[in-house]
Structures are given as C-alpha cells and as structure tokens.
C-alpha cells in the first residue's frame, strides 16, 4: 500500500482503488476477529444436527425415519399427560438428520421442552448439552450477553463484511482476468492461479452468505418501514404471517373436548408435500373446543423458508385454511433465508456449502494475517514492533489458532464432564470460552511465530485424539461406527482426523517458513510486473497457510509459497503488489 501512497501527489486525491483498498483493510481488520469466529462457527453449523447427534451418544442412530402420521397420535397422547394445561404445544418430528422427536410448549410464563423416543413417543433423558446449536447460536448472537446485543454486534460485523467484499472487488482490478488465467505446469505459478481462481470462485457464495445473513435479522435491523406502514397489531400480524408459520393461540372457550385425530390431518398434508414433508405440528388450546391444529411444512425439501401450513379445527378435524404461498417480496426473503441456512441441500450439497464456507473462513483469516504481513516489512524496529502491531498479531493467533483449540475443547467437555454435573450444558460452553481465553493469554506471552506453531500443533493433537476419546467414552468408536454403517459418528471422527491433518500442515508450513534475504527481492519485484493483483479477497486454505507462515516470521515479508518466493515486493510485503497497480 505504501508503494501506491508514494505515487500519488499530495495535491491530487487518491484514486478509487486506493480509497477502496484502505476501506477494505480497515473494515476487514476491525470486524475481522469476530467475523472469523462467526464464519467458522457458522460453517460447522451446516452440520449442526450431526454435531448434536455426536454430542448425545446415548441416542442410537435411527434405522428408519418414523412416519409422522404414525408417530403423531402417540406424541399427542404423551403431551396430554405432560402439559395438559398449556395453551400451545409445538411438536417436531424426527427427520433424516435428527433421530428424536421434540416438543416445546408454553408452561406458565416460560417455554418448556422435551425430547422423545421416535418410536414409543416417551420422553427420554438425553445428555444435558447444547450440542451443535451452541455454534449455530454463537455465530449470530455470540454469548454471555443479551441476545439482542449479540445480534446487533454480529450484524454490524456482517455489514462491515459486506463493505469489505464490495470494496475488495473494486480494489481487485484484474478480478475477471485472474479468474480465467491458469498457467499449467508452471510449478508455483500454477498454484498461485489455482488459488486465485478459487478465491474468486467463492466470491458469489461469500457475497450471498453475507447479504442473506443480514436478511435473516432484517426485522431487527430495519424496523422503520414496518413502523411507518402498520399502525395496529392486526396489520403487524399480517406481516408476521408472511414470514413464519405462527398462529397466536387465541382465547380458549373453557369447554373441554377431545383432540380430533391428528393422523388424518397429517395424511392430508402428506398428500401435498410427501411423507417427510411435514416438519412439525402446533396445537393451540389443546383439549378445548376452540382448539386449532397447524400442520407445518418442513424446510428441508424446498429452497424457501416461507411459511406453508394447513390449519385444522382441533376438535372436528375440519380443514380451515391452507397457506401455500406468500407475496413475491416475502418469497424473495424466504428464498434468501433458505439459501443462508442451506437446509434444503442433500448431503453432497451440504458438503459443498461447508467447503466453500470454510474457504470463506480462510479468506477472513488470511486477510487478518495479511495485515501484519504487510506491515512487518515496514517496521522501524522489527525486534520491537509498536503496540498496535503486537495487538493485532496476538489477537490473530488467538482468534484463528485459538478458536480451533477452543472448539475442540468444547467437544472434550462434552465427553469428559460428569453426566450429573449441575448446569452441565452451560459448563460445556464455559469450557469453550475458558480455553479460548487461555489461548489468548498464551499468545500474549509467547513469541508470535512460536505461538502460532504451538497452538496449531495443540489443535492438531487435540483433534487427532478426539476420536480416541470418543472410542474410550462411548461404544461408538470409529471401528464400531464404520462396521455399523453409522455415518454420522464415523463421519465426525474422520472429519476430526482430516482437520488434525490440516492443522498439522499449517503448523509445518509455519515452522518451515524462512524469510529470504531482503535485497535479493528488489529486482524480482520489478521483473514480476505481470503478477496478479494482491490477494485481498483471496485466501482459501493455501493462502491461509502461506499467510500464517509469513506472519510468524520475525522479519519476513511474505508467504513464499504463494508468490514462489520471487514476486515479493520488499516494501509492501505483498506478492506482486506493484505490478498490479
């Protein structure tokens, strides 16, 4: 960046690429640490149900998904016993990804919930854990603070992300050329092009995920239009009806009446949506003559979360209302929401979501590290960097390598904390944050490069040992799960081993990185005038590795694996910066 700064004179204002580059740098840095955590925890949330299954090992893998029409009457019977006076029950059916039925209901002032066996419909005691829902909730509302605060902070970070993406695209002059450039068989140059193409390839996803993320919270973020348009509760309810399948319970009549057979209602819905198209049923005022039963369509077979449901009279069983479409703006919102969640996807698509999202995580991480890489070369005294530099450097270590350690620690907590511990699920979360805090302290006292390497190795070791711990504490170890064809458990263990390998590889790259002698590269930078633009946007795994490697180096300028060790500008520390500008 300094190179371009020196090229424009004081009288003339900086060009758009320069201003956008600065905007990109600073929005990216300020929101980067939270964004990285949001991105990574959001990424693993694509397997939230599978993580939840792994964290409740006593619940067996399901052989066959129960038919809601057969299960529902039994669940209604159980609920009549558990919560006879509640004004509203909401009962969710098992699906391919979660093997239990569940319910929540209004009991007095607060909601209560239970988990049920998918065959007997009896309540089952499951391990007290938040499961994959912890990462899911953390990624948009953080923790240890009121939910609204967390959501506002996450939204502000998402907005910064959106600005960083747009300004990054403007900065990246040759974005289209780079995408179509691939120089085969040129060793590291080919890697550079592959890396570049991959970064840009992920761009539509990153843009989509950021914008749709804001859309999921837009009612909180932009309430003003609704405030202006709707003066009364009824009008507000009309908006709500376009967004979620929720019908208020209304007033009970006070006269008792048995609930009409729900199986018939569910069969009517199944004729429309298929056998597993029913997600849940909501029963308002159960056991009352004013009862209503709402059969709600599941999210998993369509690319929209807009409400679709059938509303029945709860005592006569008569169909009262069919909600099968919403307005076009509401449907746009429903589709954007569904695109963010990715629940419509089958397994291969969910893996694709996961991998591209992981690339997005690496994009944020490598961007953070890039900040220190670029500035390290310009430090007046490399042995004693200024405070801001050290702060960013250490926060990077804790937020990237430390988060990996903390996330695995969360799984260790799940296996090691006593089943009888009070508030057990809260303690799993405390373990996560205590370990994360510890990695920050560790990063502050160790030399930067050592901090990176040691925490990456720690993460790799913990990840590799997790399948072992799983085999020791449950009877669903890798051999058993593979033999039983239990792909949730086998997949989880194998994924941990793959992530262990990734962390080990990052650690080895960081260790091996040797900054080259400075003066040699001056000419190299000049001759490399054709090198693509800076990797502002870029940074899939390879970029992260190189960037990590570079940042750990005491006086190094850049990731040699990225630039081939030759195309490094001595002043900017970025591969090919001068050539691109």
């Amino acid at each position: 960046m300094s190179s371009t700064m020196s090229t424009y004179s004081k009288a003339k204002a900086p060009g758009i690429r320069q201003t956008m580059s600065d905007l990109h740098t600073w929005t990216g840095l300020l929101a980067g640490w939270i964004l990285y955590a949001m991105f990574l925890t959001g990424t693993v949330s694509y397997f939230k149900d599978e993580i939840s299954q792994w964290m409740r090992p006593a619940v067996p893998a399901q052989a066959q998904v129960a038919n809601p029409a057969e299960l529902a009457p039994r669940l209604v019977e159980t609920m009549s016993r558990l919560a006879p006076t509640s004004p509203q029950w909401s009962i969710g059916f098992p699906d391919e990804r979660s093997p239990t039925a569940n319910a929540f209901w209004r009991g007095g002032k607060r909601f209560e919930s239970a988990t049920f066996d998918p065959v007997t419909a009896q309540p089952i005691e499951v391990r007290d854990t938040t499961g994959g829902d912890f990462f899911y909730r953390f990624h948009f509302q953080l923790h240890y603070m009121p939910v609204l605060w967390g959501r506002w902070i996450a939204s502000i970070c998402a907005m910064f992300m959106l600005v960083a993406i747009v300004s990054g695209v403007i900065t990246h002059k040759k974005i289209f050329v780079d995408f179509f450039t691939f120089r085969w068989g040129k060793g590291q140059r080919s890697w550079l092009d592959a890396h570049n193409a991959l970064s840009v390839f992920g761009l539509p996803f990153h843009l989509m995920i950021t914008y749709t993320g804001l859309v999921t919270l837009m009612l909180m973020l932009m309430p003003w239009g609704g405030d202006a348009a709707f003066k009364d509760r009824g009008a507000r309810q009309a908006l709500q009806n376009e967004l979620s399948a929720f019908v208020p319970a209304g007033k009970p009549s006070g006269d008792k009446a048995p609930i009409a057979p729900v199986a018939d209602m569910i069969r009517q819905a199944q004729e429309r949506w298929g056998q597993h198209g029913v997600g849940r049923i909501t029963i308002n005022n159960p056991g009352d003559t004013a009862s209503r039963v709402m059969v709600v369509r599941a999210d998993n077979q369509r690319v929209s979360v807009s409400p679709q449901y059938l509303l029945f009279n709860g005592t006569s069983g008569q169909l009262l209302d069919t909600k099968d479409s919403v307005g076009s703006a509401a449907e746009t919102r429903g589709v954007m929401y569904a695109l963010h969640l990715g629940r419509f996807g089958d397994l291969p698509l969910r893996w694709l979501y996961f991998l591209v999202s992981l690339a997005g995580t690496a994009m944020v991480g490598s961007g953070l590290v890039m900040w220190t890489v670029k500035r390290r070369a310009k430090l007046p005294n490399p042995d004693k960097p200024y405070f801001g530099f050290r702060l960013v450097e250490r926060l990077n270590i804790a937020s990237v390598a430390g988060l990996s350690v903390a996330m695995v620690a969360f799984f260790y907590g799940n296996r090691l904390l006593s089943e009888t511990l009070a508030d057990r699920k809260d303690w799993e979360i405390h373990v996560f944050f205590m370990v994360w805090g510890a990695t920050l302290l560790y990063a502050m006292v160790r030399p930067a490069k050592r901090g990176w390497i040691e925490l990456l190795w720690l993460a790799a070791g913990l990840l590799l040992a997790l399948p072992v711990l799983n085999a020791m504490t449950t009877d669903r170890g890798l051999w058993n799960s593979l033999a039983a064809g239990d792909w949730v458990f086998a997949g989880f263990d194998l994924a941990m081993i793959a992530f262990a390998a990734l962390h080990a590889w990052l650690a080895i790259r960081t260790t091996r990185h040797r900054p080259k002698v400075k003066p040699v590269r001056k000419t190299a930078a000049v001759t490399d005038g054709t090198a693509p633009a800076p990797r502002r946007l870029g940074g899939v795994a390879g970029g992260a590795a190189a960037a990590v490697a570079a940042s750990g180096a005491p006086s190094g300028a850049s990731g040699s694996s990225l630039s081939g060790g030759t195309a490094v500008s001595p002043r900017s520390g970025m591969p090919g910066v001068e050539g691109a500008r």
Partner: protein, 94 residues
C-alpha cells in the same frame, strides 16, 4: 503544541467520513426502507421490499463516502440522495 493541534484537526475529515458512513449510511438505508412503503403494492410487500433493499443502499453509501474527494462532498452526496427519499418517506408518515 501547534503541531499537535494540526494533527487533531487533520483527523477531522476522516472522523467526519466515518460518522457519515456509519450513521449517515444507516440513516439513508432506513429512509429508503420507509420510502419503499410508498411503492404501489401491498403494504407487507412494500415493507419487505424496503428492508431487503436497504442493505444495498447502506453499502453504496459507505463506498460513496470513502470514494469521493472530500468529507464535505460525502455529506452533500448523502443529503442529495436523502432528498427524494425523504419526500417519499414523508408521504408515508403523514
């Protein structure tokens, strides 16, 4: 002393731009979401359209604020964009 004063004054335009981007940008986006209610469509549809589009407006505003030559221009640009939106929003509020 003089140098320090100049340094403080020197960051003024940058601070002004940051305020313009963060709060001016949000105000413009919010205004847009209200103005959308004036669109000739069902109220719920218009409200949702305004919400969905507001983040595009926010991003464009931020890019504008940092792209133009001076902080004054940044504010003037926001004000000019706000003018027609205010008229539409006023027709909704009144």
């Amino acid at each position: 002393m003089n140098a320090r004063l100049r340094k403080v004054v020197g960051v003024g335009p940058l601070l002004s731009r940051i305020v313009a981007a963060l709060f001016g940008g949000y105000a413009l986006a919010a205004l847009c979401s209200v103005a959308a209610v004036a669109l000739p469509m069902a109220p719920t549809e218009a409200v949702l359209t305004g919400m969905l589009a507001s983040f595009v407006v926010y991003v464009c505003a931020v890019v504008w604020v940092f792209a133009v030559r001076s902080a004054t221009r940044a504010w003037v640009g926001l004000a000019i964009a706000a003018l027609p939106l205010s008229l539409a929003a006023w027709s909704v509020w009144k």
